[in-house]
Amino acid sequence: MIVVIVNTVLIVSGISGLLALLLVIADMLFANYGECKININGKKELNLKGGSSLLTLLNESGIYLASACGGRGSCGFCKCKITQGGGPLLPTEKPFLNKTEINNQIRLSCQVKVKEDISIEIPEDIFNIRKFKARVTDIKDLTYDIKELTLQLIKPDSIDFKPGQYIQLEAPPYEKSKQPVSRAYSISNAPFEKDFIQLIIRLVPDGLCTTYVFEYLQVNDIVNVTGPFGDFYIRDTQADMLFIAGGSGKAPIKSMLEYLVKNKSRRKMVYMFGAQTKKDLYYTALLEKYEKELLDFTYVPVLSKPTQECEWEGKCGYIPPYFPEYIKDPKNTEAYLCGSPGMIAAVIKGLKENGVPEDKIYYDSFA
């Protein structure tokens, strides 16, 4: 009996082993695609070992296409234009692409296997996106629930960004979260200060990343940030500018203002900041300083719940009713908004009613 069992096991494993060996050899012979060239925007060329997905190969070369699902083909973020190579469109990509995208040769980079030389087009900004290691050098309270975080970049040690763009801060696994979580925060310092970044973070009750920053993060800790991302930045025109922010939405606008101060901008600017009470106001001295330094800049804090303090000589209520007072030339006004989705929606409605063209309203909504 034992002999039979041993024989059976030996034979079955022998045959399976043989077939496995055959498959390994075949894998080496057939699945080896050798070196493939990836041509990016006709400017840059990467020589890489073929056989993996385009997304993986780009990531390995330090080019970070957005992806939320890790290459499983379920989020549809990693779109890029493939002008040559890449094979036919796959059924796994179709659900994520519309007709225009298909005609424009847009593909999902996680589904495209690189088996031959391939040419792709991606926005230039993506080259700029890096993963940074940074040291926390300062954590400062701006209000009772808003902190300013200063991060000294270690590796790489400098960042190029446009004022208004954001980075993703990664909170490592800690007591309240078993996995690392990444959240987006706007950079609040000016782009000419390349070796550090500042973030303004407001405590979100039970927020995984903000709780980490408020309760666990210490000066001298090392954190990971990725960026810069986003298309919320100053348009280089001569139009009047209207900045509107709420809560921690001051971050991108502070970066923009510092940039405008540095460049001695002569544009007409108004900054309306919505908060609930006097306690929620911050950077007031700094903004008053900007009022002196800039040719034509007005800072207008508006409090929605000033309680008895409405002896406070500023504006009360919500922002939109004050638009007629501050928008002098609506057709020639660019609006830059940063705040919660609810506030953004209300403000956009108010701006349109006051004649500001929709294509001149730029916003960054924290979802």
Partner: protein, 195 residues
């Protein structure tokens, strides 16, 4: 059993259709028959794999299992051989013919567990076919399976535009259609019977 190999081939397609008389390979038959296009791909893949695995399994059975006196292992060995063959084919097709890969390739992994493929290999042992008979039986069964899924897909595409009572939608109606198709194929049985 000395039947002309060509007769076996014809019989495997029509009168002894592996799907419609033995009802093997039902799961992929039902799930991939929504559109003619995809059923075409799966049908071709089944035909291809069936033809080759019957040939390989014939050799494995008569030159390995019988001499070593381990016929009782045929189930396991056949399955392993089929799995390895499918894997190998997928690799080769992916490498050399992208077009074929995108029509056949995505269906290949489905076939590893298609019982019609294993069934054909087991039938050739039970019925004691010689090599030529086995290969033609495999090819015939593949074509038969192909025709059956193509017919069902065609019918289901038409059904899609008609009113179907809630209780019959999906697999229910597909099984009834398959049953009627099986009855129709019995009409061929006057020509030749091989089992």
């Amino acid at each position: 059993m000395e039947i002309n190999a060509f007769i076996i081939f014809i019989a495997a397609i029509f009168t002894s259709n592996i799907l419609l008389t033995n009802f093997l390979g039902m799961c992929s038959f039902l799930s991939v028959s929504r559109e003619v296009e995809s059923s075409l791909g799966l049908g071709l893949a089944v035909f291809f794999v069936m033809t080759f695995t019957t040939a390989i399994n014939f050799v494995v059975y008569h030159f390995i299992l019988v001499p070593l006196n381990i016929i009782y292992l045929q189930y396991i060995i056949f399955i392993i051989v089929i799995a390895a063959f499918v894997q190998l084919t997928e690799m080769i097709i992916e490498r050399f013919s992208p077009v074929l890969y995108y029509t056949l390739g995505i269906f290949l992994p489905l076939i590893t567990v298609n019982c019609a493929i294993l069934g054909v290999s087991l039938f050739l042992v039970i019925r004691d076919y010689n090599f030529l008979q086995s290969v033609l039986y495999g090819a015939g069964s593949g074509i038969g399976w192909f025709i059956a899924i193509l017919a069902l897909a065609g019918i289901r595409q038409k059904v899609k535009y008609n009113y179907v009572p809630a209780g019959l939608q999906g697999a229910g109606l597909s099984l009834i259609i398959t049953g009627i198709m099986a009855l129709a194929f019995i009409g061929f049985s006057g020509i030749v019977v091989i089992q």
